[in-house]
Symmetry: C2
């Protein structure tokens, strides 16, 4: 759409919003969301169709060392089975808010059987977990590419079914470490400023996590000399679920989808997607500010204003799922509220 057309659409949307029976601006951020979704969809009557959450799961070689994570690596596979059996937080919140859920095996270190998962797990497994990035690159260039492509494929499939609103989540023991390293490389700030407690390390474990990640940073820094780039960072310190998230974001933007961004790890993947497509932020609604240290800094750096700040730090796409009703509310007030004229309500300047 041309800039002029976008401008006149923006004005038409603003008029429509301002004519609803409420004081000017009284719906706050919901009004901004309605405006942005209208611009994204190129219409004054935007819609939310078949909203979806996709959770990518993958294992991290470093988790086997126990240096960065209080939970054993096996929990990634156990939680995937929990998703499949509808017992996790993301299942509860998707059910409650009328969202479909797709779970993707991006690279879990476990061989799921048909008995366990039937057709309810989408297998895009690149490998049984990444390499330990304390010793070498987490994945090969072709694995990074394969994972990003797989993420794109999942989104393409949902778009073909009519889905135009999507939130992404992740599961992977050790992946706050990967996210902290990505944050450090992309934002160009010390890794110590990016490390947090993840699923709940204590003070001593936090020191150890920090020291470990500084070591990883020093090992891989030379490979990223020519400035941060998506593929190189993924190869060095990524996870398969994070690489798929990155590809999924890029495809969702190309499909003009509304993207709900979840917490720390999901936002780290968005940092990588944004390196390839800076305009992707036009599609993004930031669902919440996670309790994980570093997320606030990421959001500020992106100029993002999250909808919620409930001290949550669970991942799985739970923040995105809980924020979805606000996307619906923005679209609904625009479509369903009466205007001053239709309701016969006086405006302030008719006093």
């Amino acid at each position: 759409m041309s800039t002029t057309t976008q401008q006149s659409l923006g004005q038409a949307l603003r008029r429509r919003i301002d004519n609803k029976t409420k004081p000017l601006g009284a719906l706050g951020q919901l009004e901004e969301i309605a405006l942005r979704i209208g611009l994204l969809q190129g219409t004054t009557h935007p819609v939310v169709n078949r909203p979806h959450i996709v959770v990518f799961a993958g294992d991290h070689g470093v988790a086997a060392t126990g240096l960065v994570n209080p939970y054993p690596q096996a929990v990634t596979a156990q939680m995937v089975l929990n998703f499949i059996r509808e017992g996790a937080a993301i299942n509860v919140f998707c059910r409650q808010n009328g969202l479909s859920l797709t779970v993707v095996d991006a690279g879990v270190n476990y061989d799921f059987t048909a008995d366990q998962v039937g057709d309810r797990l989408v297998s895009k497994k690149v490998a049984f977990g990444t390499h330990n990035y304390l010793q070498r690159a987490a994945m090969s260039p072709s694995q990074a590419l394969q994972a990003m492509d797989a993420g794109r494929e999942v989104v393409t499939g949902l778009a073909a079914q009519g889905c135009n609103s999507i939130g992404f989540g992740e599961m992977g023991i050790g992946n706050t470490s990967s996210a902290a390293l990505i944050m450090s490389f992309v934002m160009g700030i010390p890794v110590a400023d990016c490390v947090g407690r993840g699923t709940g390390v204590n003070d001593e474990q936090l020191k150890q996590k920090q020291a470990t990640l500084e070591q990883v940073y020093r090992l891989h820094r030379p490979a990223i000399t020519s400035g941060p780039d998506t593929s190189t960072i993924l190869q060095c310190v990524g996870g398969f679920e994070i690489a798929m998230l990155t590809g999924a974001y890029l495809e969702a933007a190309e499909q003009k989808m509304i993207i709900l961004v979840d917490g720390f790890i999901s936002t780290a993947a968005l940092l990588l997607a944004r390196l390839s497509n800076p305009a992707i932020l036009d599609n993004c609604i930031f669902s919440h500010c996670s309790g994980e240290n570093g997320h606030t800094k990421m959001l500020e750096w992106l100029g993002a204003r999250p909808l919620l700040n409930l001290g949550m730090r669970l991942g799985e796409g739970t923040g995105a799922a809980l924020a979805f009703p606000f996307v619906r509310a923005a679209v609904s007030f625009l479509e369903e509220m009466a205007s001053f004229e239709s309701a016969g309500v006086s405006k302030s300047d008719e006093a």
Copy 2:
């Protein structure tokens, strides 16, 4: 319930929350809400039944002067008709979030006909608007009592139908002024610190609103010499919708309901209810921080941590309606999520 029983119930709830398949505390404020609702209902299996929004509407004598409000007084009645015809923001958000809506005429300056409202407006009209408190008390002692009783009756009726979760809203041109005066008297701070733009006065109008309310404050201050008390403040500077809200809060607390507190005016009414029953805060979940100046101060004074901060300032109970999904989410995760044991997920200390 005895203190010991409450303590052991609290421990049982905490255990139940901590055994869900998520890191300790990872659901942030949702965990606190689940705990509080469990304690309120006296069970480890709390439920949300027939959730309801009640909107009280009333007119203010001062509004006829045009000194404090950019919208004409007639808008109160026009908006009530908009509620009845399902065209307002609160209708949209109640529909979306599965909430029933009751609209109450507390004292609107308009004679609604059966043709217009059928049986969809609950009439508890005390009078056709309050007196102008620039000249005299807004209402008589018996009117304040009548209005509070009417608010209680509405809640008693809903409780009898099985409703255990309720949010209150209001509509009344000029009622941010009444709320600012209540705030000033209850919190003992200058009225200038309590006045805001309401539905959108400009800089000049704001100065005039402030000067007007300071005059009102000086006129009624002598009547409140012996310290703030609910009934006297309502008589001097209240509105019928605010008095009904006050009674409704008190009844909802006695019925052990979950109360969702909306914005500036609703919180002002809660300040009055709390004078009569300080324990009422145990029932209250603060839905959002309004964009209206003064609401942040009220919330801080109450030690309240609102769920949302979306820059909304519409009233009508819209903040409460939008926050309801979080009450549902708190109860749902507690009831529906698998435990570590049931899902076969390892805990961090089993690493």
